[in-house]
Assembly symmetry: C2
Homo-oligomer: 86 residues x 2
Amino acid sequence: MSYKAKIKVTLRQSILDVQGKAVDHALKNLGYASVASARIGKYIEVSINEAERGDAERICCEICEKLLSNPVMENYFFELESEPVN
Amino acid sequence: MSYKAKIKVTLRQSILDVQGKAVDHALKNLGYASVASARIGKYIEVSINEAERGDAERICCEICEKLLSNPVMENYFFELESEPVN
């Protein structure tokens, strides 16, 4: 069985998001006065080939902790979708 | 009314994702043989203060087209959630 993990990695709320601030300013300059508080994160899709959903979830947590996010300053969320084996 | 837009910007399928390839290799080196085809995108959250949901959707499309994505090589998807006004 193959699972597709859709992972969002976001900066913790207490961490200043300079990239988000830049987007905020750019949007103001473009005339979008109603848009505020942009925050920028990463979006990652990976395929995980495991027989059991539980194994896929465990692996997804591990790779988020070890490689895809910095747990000191980032949070991660993921969804697992089963996908047909090609 | 305030809406929170959750925007995903991903590379089109036909575009080589070098950052994703690097993540693939790193995962293989860490021993995760069952993980494959990582693709990396951006995840953006913005607040949009508009009375009508339709206006918020229109603005979200516009800022995705103009600023947040490169329509030549990227796709974008978004969800709008209404959020309580502070």
